[in-house]
Symmetry: C2
Subunit: 204 residues, 2 copies
Amino acid sequence: MTARVEFWFEFASTYSYAAAFAVEERARERGVRVVWRSFLLAPIFGAQGWRDSPFNIYPAKGAYMWRDLARVCARQGLPLKKPTVFPRSGLLAARIACRHGEASWCPEFVRRIYAANFQDDEDISSSEVVGRIVESLSLKSAEILADAQTQPGKDALRAQTEQAVKLGIFGAPTFAVDGEIFWGGDRLGEALDWAIGERKVAQL
Amino acid sequence: MTARVEFWFEFASTYSYAAAFAVEERARERGVRVVWRSFLLAPIFGAQGWRDSPFNIYPAKGAYMWRDLARVCARQGLPLKKPTVFPRSGLLAARIACRHGEASWCPEFVRRIYAANFQDDEDISSSEVVGRIVESLSLKSAEILADAQTQPGKDALRAQTEQAVKLGIFGAPTFAVDGEIFWGGDRLGEALDWAIGERKVAQL
């Protein structure tokens, strides 16, 4: 059985953007398959009393994050433009990514949504922008967008977000391997080690 | 001039514990000198409305941290025992580390305080435990403890904590190089790159 790592991402998450562009190549080098798992942070943050991104609530943390992200992106050779609106809702895109998580086009769809937000400063909460990106993959946007907004489409993302909570996920990106979670893009290496059986943990 | 990295640590910080045992060797390999800088998180957390460790306020984050720390320590070959009291106040020890930051014994003092808290579950807030650790370094504990509690001793740590805030520090450990900050033990490599002149940052 091929080793696998689940990549849990939220479209508003800045570090998820950088990770979305790194995860497949890094995993391939280690012989690990990536499973794409969209979810929403808003209900998780809301449950702990946050009504906005912690990067907006805590200014020092926010200022640091943008600077750090600029360094992370430079190391990856990834463009970055600070969006004029932050955070943007990725609800529609997340529903689509959830409904089609196993589709071959899903990873590229996810990266194009991220690029729209963090490279081109486009409003990824709008169905026009999301629809255009779906079309750019030679898919029928009307069908895919309509399906995402049906009750089963909504329920699927809600269930996946509940699964994230059950896994203990509280931020994005998070990598999960057999129920073991690794928070932050900088933990990808550790997650891949875990996936291929290199597992070390001290007894508490 | 030798490249240098400032290591900003707080004695209650779990990830600072692991970093304190890694920073000198990693820095030496890169030809970088470590400057030890104790500070307090309580006033910084307090200013953003937290009266306890965020790992206690947010249970999912806390559960994750202990598991992640156990993995980090296992990778470093570092023992870890979850303290029965968390967080413990490192006020006295932080004042001593601040007053003697340039002393040759300071790094070892810092590591022994961390080991007392995170390996031996000792009460590092007590002057008895701190005094015993000072004595274990063949130093006169009465003098050093008394000095730390004078007004200049208190003011020194207060000023150093204010300097941390000015640098934009909001958590521990943080590495600082020429005013550039790197938060988290996992950012040590990036901080050392920065210290030796490998500096990449995307234009926002």
